[in-house]
Assembly symmetry: D2
Homo-oligomer: 280 residues x 4
């Protein structure tokens, strides 16, 4: 390392932050080669999201399908941990950026990762189909893999609160319309419905697709990698997080806890005791 | 408090998380009264953002202007602290949600608050005009207030990197076109241009409007409260943060520091010394 | 800038991350000049905290007083927003670092800033005394300043939950003992007690010092700057945050909301309505 | 659920935040049964950390060994991602809590998880020994498991920067002294040294234990669960994060990027291009 010339060291420093996303020079900003001034007014926020994540612009029709998935996932109410966190955070005297960060931070495997896991399941089905397996067989194989690695709860199907998730059907209708119009291939709706049917047979009761399953269908149809299923969900849920943080900020409540103070928390530990002499 | 009946306590617990944003019952999700299944496929992501923050739906034209402001601010390169943080975070083995949270968290007063501060300045100008002051006088009064409370750097004008910010002009053209079409009133472009002129006179050199100034014009025209200027910027910049985190994740680099290891950091403290006996 | 030689650019890069806290060379780590291998086994965690923040080692007695302030603030139960956030975060499938970050992040002005604000108040009193004002007069002047800038609730005094904070008295006894032993000067206990008395007179009821007031006395006696009052509190409360996150992780609960699901949240917004035609 | 009486619902709400860590009533705070007023002045910060995480008080000697591990890991310089993040965050105008949160948040698997992974490796060795395997054999079996699940880099051994980590030897000396004094059993130093030897044989060059290995020995000797290895490291590194954030805050630099502005980042994407007609 010490043998590098100063010129080489400066070059290494420049390359340390190399990116294919954005080019900047004084007065110049280009995204994957498109000058920003040519994008403004001509491409939508959803097209820009796609460009940033994929390096190419989608057609307006593709972007509209992405847009629909993003608009549908913005919020699921203040009893969701992320939303409750945003509201409590604001009451502690922090700014919107801080409240939003504490909240999006918890969109982890259980709370924000369902779309990603569901997309991984879809990919396994497709993989099996590529080797010649029939849909039903491919779904069976993929479910064996899934439950072995992720446990019994299959992300994207079933809901703790909604017997039928009112968002799933309309979203699936959108992707099917897009497939009919040639915007997408339309292979994932069938995969998702077969998974739904297989889960219903296994549990002997309906396990209907939920919003994570439906948006996973959309993201998979549009060719996004599974981890971006989580990333796109975060962009969407950030809207609900911001809205609730903002609503909370208008109340002026300070240091909001999870429950009214008149409901004390239960203590389940040892009874009062004195220090042992050898402990201090 | 202790006199409340259990029924009253249960009611207090329900009210503790009261919201006007979303209604949920099993199978039912409504946003400010609009059932989700009627919104899907009919309103855009930008309309949904507006609905969540304002409680009412904008027209598609209003939403398009908001959409343009959101698409224009997504990224300013890996030398911005938020983006560098996202990239370093990913290399530490955390998930996208965590990398994004560490990054959006730093969109504080200096890095993410310019739009909000600029909107506050615009509001002061408008306030002065409402009392009958001419634009130029109102701008002068507002700038005196601003520099007294916020210091000499006026948010939304001038740029450390770009002599002319290539995003400001096209954005302003969009809002002026919207004003010409009656979508917005069109009062803030003139205010912003007068501030730009006043700053130029004071510093005796051009201090051109930057993207924060231009998006502040849009947000103000659309009637958003100043703190939401920051909130909307966070939604937009989250896209760049996600894109860079994702690009970084594809490299496989572990524990990325801010510079190549061959560039050691300078130590500026005391020389090596021994412990004093009374210190241990 | 472009005129710099590559050597100068490399030097600028080295200086960009200049610090007086730590020196590192391969095989060498020194903190403010003290080699780490000479510190290990000879100085305590609290001495190290002091060294890192101040650049010099305290005596063991000074460190013990700091240690006591740190041990006393570790937790105030799961109804504190930070603790509730840590527990909900863990249930979302994130790691301890992420849960702890979401939680410490909300130790803002209202939830974690009381010590800092109280130290600023103490500093104002001391400033007034330095100009010759008697303690009672100095406290009166400082309280006028405080309520004018911070509002009516004086940080460090009074408690929403405890009529008398059981931590304040024992902490004050520690600092008074340290003053008697010559470890600290002992000027802030009297200032704090006079503020307590003045507040009691104003409100016509006791407003007893709480833990934030008592630790502010300790930190001020030890010569820490007010913002470090918040920093030290965060170090302390991080322990409770970690402990609750860890306890929660042992339960296996997924996506813990703020209340049991059987308690629905109240919806306070508009009734169900249909989309207007011009909105889509 | 709807069949519960209001009394039962209130009880369920109380139990929702049940904990064994802390009991609170007005005027009363007890940790695992110990009233706070009896702990203050009698137990140290390190004893309190142990009590919070384990539910029982350690002896002062046990706590001193924990204290040493905590004091040794506070910082590794501004080129560590967590420290760089803290410094950049502060320059964006956020408070210490926010800067610290963004930084501790990235102490993930690669940056903060080494201690945890090393403790898991030690546990595997001990498991194999419990079935009668000799140390060398047990180490071999555990390393096969480790590299199969975690990859080739064995956490706790070897260092990218230090040929020999100056912290490892002195820390190991502390735990061996504690073992000689009967404070701990003293089984993990031998396990760690055998791993070190085995790695050296495999790579045909020394792979000396680093600080993560040495603190893992201490935490394992003291009986902490592996995930708490990460938790304790976070408590320790929080000190360095706070110190660097504080030092940075004194400089007044705004929006600090990772490198001086004169070093531009490399753009590696497509050349400038125009929008296709079908894209807008």
């Amino acid at each position: 390392m010490s043998e590098r010339t100063p010129e080489q060291t400066v070059q290494a420093a420049q390359d340390w932050w190399s990116t294919s996303i954005i080019k900047m020079r004084p007065g110049i900003i280009e995204f994957s080669g498109y000058p920003i001034q040519e994008l403004i007014g001509r491409v939508s926020f959803s097209q820009m999201i796609w460009l940033m994540l994929r390096g190419d612009l989608p057609t307006p029709d593709q972007a509209r399908l992405l847009d629909t998935a993003l608009m549908a996932s913005v919020d699921h109410g203040p009893h969701a941990p992320s939303i409750a966190i945003a509201r409590m955070a604001i009451s502690c005297g922090v700014d919107l950026n801080t409240a939003m960060a504490s909240a999006t931070n918890v969109l982890g495997d259980s709370h924000g990762g369902a779309g990603q896991q569901c997309m991984e399941l879809f990919a396994k089905v497709r993989e099996a189909m590529a080797t010649g397996a029939a849909l039903e067989v491919a779904v069976d194989q993929a479910l064996v893999w899934y439950t072995g690695t992720h446990g019994k709860i299959v992300a994207g199907f079933g809901h703790r609160f909604h017997p039928v998730d009112p968002r799933a059907g309309p979203l699936l209708a959108q992707v099917e319309a897009a497939a009919a119009a040639g915007v997408v291939e339309g292979v994932y709706p069938a995969i998702a419905r077969e998974i739904e049917a297989a889960l219903g047979r296994r549990k002997d009761k309906p396990i209907p697709m939920n919003i994570d399953g439906a948006t996973a269908v959309i993201f998979a149809e549009l060719g996004f990698a599974p981890p971006l299923g989580r990333g796109l969900f975060i962009l969407s849920r950030s809207v609900g997080i911001l809205a609730h943080a903002w609503e909370q900020s208008q109340t002026g409540v300070r240091n909001k806890g999870p429950m009214p103070k008149e409901i004390p928390f239960t203590y389940a530990g040892p009874d009062r005791r004195a220090l042992d002499e050898k402990q201090s």
